[in-house]
Amino acid sequence: MVCRDGTAAVPSVGVNRQKDPLIMIEARNLTKRYGDKTAVDDLTFTVRPGIVTGFLGPNGAGKSTTMRLILGLDAPTSGTVTVAGKPYREHARPLRTVGALLEARAIHTSRSAYNHLRALAATHGIARSRVDDVVEMVGLQDVARKRAGGFSLGMGQRLGIASALLADPETLLLDEPVNGLDPEGIRWIRDLLKSLAAEGRTVFVSSHLMSEMALTAEHVIVVGRGRLIADMPMAQLIAGASADTVVVVSPDAAALGRALAADGVVVTGLDATTLEVAGLTAAQVGDRARDLRFSIHGLAPKQASLEEAFMEMTRDEVEYHAETPTPGRAA
């Protein structure tokens, strides 16, 4: 496990986890079945404070279920998950321990945003002035007295974030927070998450968008069909994921393709004159073509996008393919 700069004091994961108060969320062999469907399958991971940890996976991978298990909303079939050393429900001030934004809105549609926050604040004896503060922090002051049911998706997300921040929590648990936000809102969330992490809090954010996570998260946990696929620093994931290819245009593409094909080299014909070559650099392709006297009209290295790398990584784990548009209850 590579430690990021700035977190050098954090002991490597796996050593004496339970006694380390710095390690804020810890799941061990966490499993959740609904009937015969396994939503979360033997997940073991640790989320540390001081950095933003991304929780990545396609829809239906078990991200939301995992978050509900962390909050104790659902009980695990087996395994455990703790926050700051004990189950969420055993904390005296749960909202101080974890501030959560769950993907599905958790707001009574007939109540105003302000009263919603006041009701939550009352459970922890939090002053009204703090409610005003978080309303202002998320920019909802103009609509806070209106029915939450009339809110746009983006406003609902902002209200959810206000609820999460209400008790100034040590851990933030945010399920798809950028959903429905405009570009300005997305940028705001990114900056907010980074500054919360910089203050030493644990920030655990789920997303199905690799590109979004790449901009926000320092560490990433990838799941597919409820199983752990990767748990590593984001930089390492990006470096390992770059399965680069070379696009070659040649009037004699088919013959060139046959000539280039070898062990460790995969050639894909894109059309009659274009090939995509994996396993060789652009220079190697150009040199071989010259040696074999092929005419080359175009040669371009192509970097795999993060999104492609992510799709590659989780391809076998995607539960809902496009041709079966089953709405996933648990993302």
């Binding site: 909050l71 104790g72 009980a75 001030r93 101080r96 707001i107 009574h108 004896g125 100034d168």
Partner: protein, 288 residues
């Protein structure tokens, strides 16, 4: 981050939470432990901040008072034309409190909605996120709704009684009449217990349609169905239905074959306690 565990070390002082040493915590937020009393305050904020609460309680009070008065004035104006059978059954106390038939439906619907509205909107996840032990939420909702219902409907029952006797004129009576005070307090108590039962049903069934259907089925349909049972079964079933047991506890002249007032109260309380106990067990075990 030496104070990462400060949340659980502070007891009642609340100041333990102010000692975070991370940057930006100068304006530390004061956060107290979750207690039953704080959950009650939270539920009070919730109850007051939904318009449907006011409307439905107003409907219950209006039904209790209005129907009592209408029936009393109609009875007085048609006194001379009443058939002898009706006259023999007539009781001024029960007549003035007849509005409970409708009021119980309003009270029951709101009791179910207080819970199922949260499940339908997803609010329940925020509620249990803030009070993850869950049972304090059950007790707070039930207790608070019971208190509100009892106070409001006691006033309504008294108004229905006093106004109703005015409308009945010479056929009316006073609070000093036999069973009158028990009837007024008892009808408010009955409606309160129905409200508590409805809250428990809400937690048990979690859907508005299912909760209300179950409640109405027990209050309105079950007595009618019971009439179809073999007649030697009826005395073992009919008096123990929540509506009939409740009527026994407050009515001056309850229907034939009904329980005593004390037994009626005991039976209705048993319904409520069993429903609440089942709700508590399931609440602790089920996924939210």
């Amino acid at each position: 981050m030496s104070t990462a565990t400060s949340t659980e070390t502070g007891t009642a002082t609340g100041t333990a939470t102010a000692e975070r040493d991370r940057p930006g915590a100068g304006d530390a937020v004061r956060v107290e432990p979750v207690t039953q009393a704080r959950v009650v305050v939270s539920e009070w904020v919730k109850l007051r901040s939904l318009r449907s609460t006011g409307f439905t309680l107003l409907a219950a009070v209006t039904a209790m008072v209005g129907i009592g008065w209408i029936i009393c004035s109609a009875t007085a104006s048609r006194w001379s034309r009443m058939p002898p059978g009706r006259l023999a059954e007539f009781n001024p106390v029960d007549t003035s409190l007849a509005g409970f038939h409708l009021a119980q439906l309003a009270v029951g619907v709101l009791g179910v909605l207080l819970v199922t509205g949260e499940y339908a909107t997803g609010m329940i996840r925020a509620t249990f996120g803030a009070a993850p032990r869950r049972l304090p939420v059950l007790w707070a909702k039930t207790g608070l709704y019971a208190a509100v219902t009892f106070v409001l409907l006691l006033v309504a029952a008294l108004a229905a009684f006093l106004g109703g006797q005015q409308f009945l004129g010479t056929h009316g009576t006073t609070l000093s009449a036999d069973g009158a005070v028990r009837a007024v307090i008892g009808v408010a108590g009955y409606l309160t217990l129905i409200g508590m039962f409805a809250v428990a049903l809400g937690f048990l069934i979690r859907s508005t349609a299912g909760g209300i259907a179950t409640l109405f089925g027990l209050l309105l349909v079950a007595p009618g169905l019971g009439e179809l049972l073999p007649s030697d079964w009826q005395p073992h079933i009919l008096p123990y239905l929540p509506g009939n047991a409740g009527e026994a506890m407050f009515a001056v002249h309850p229907g034939a074959g009904s329980l005593s007032a004390g037994a009626g109260l005991a039976v209705l309380v048993t319904w409520v306690v069993v429903a609440l106990a089942a709700a508590a067990v399931l609440l602790a075990r089920r996924d939210a």
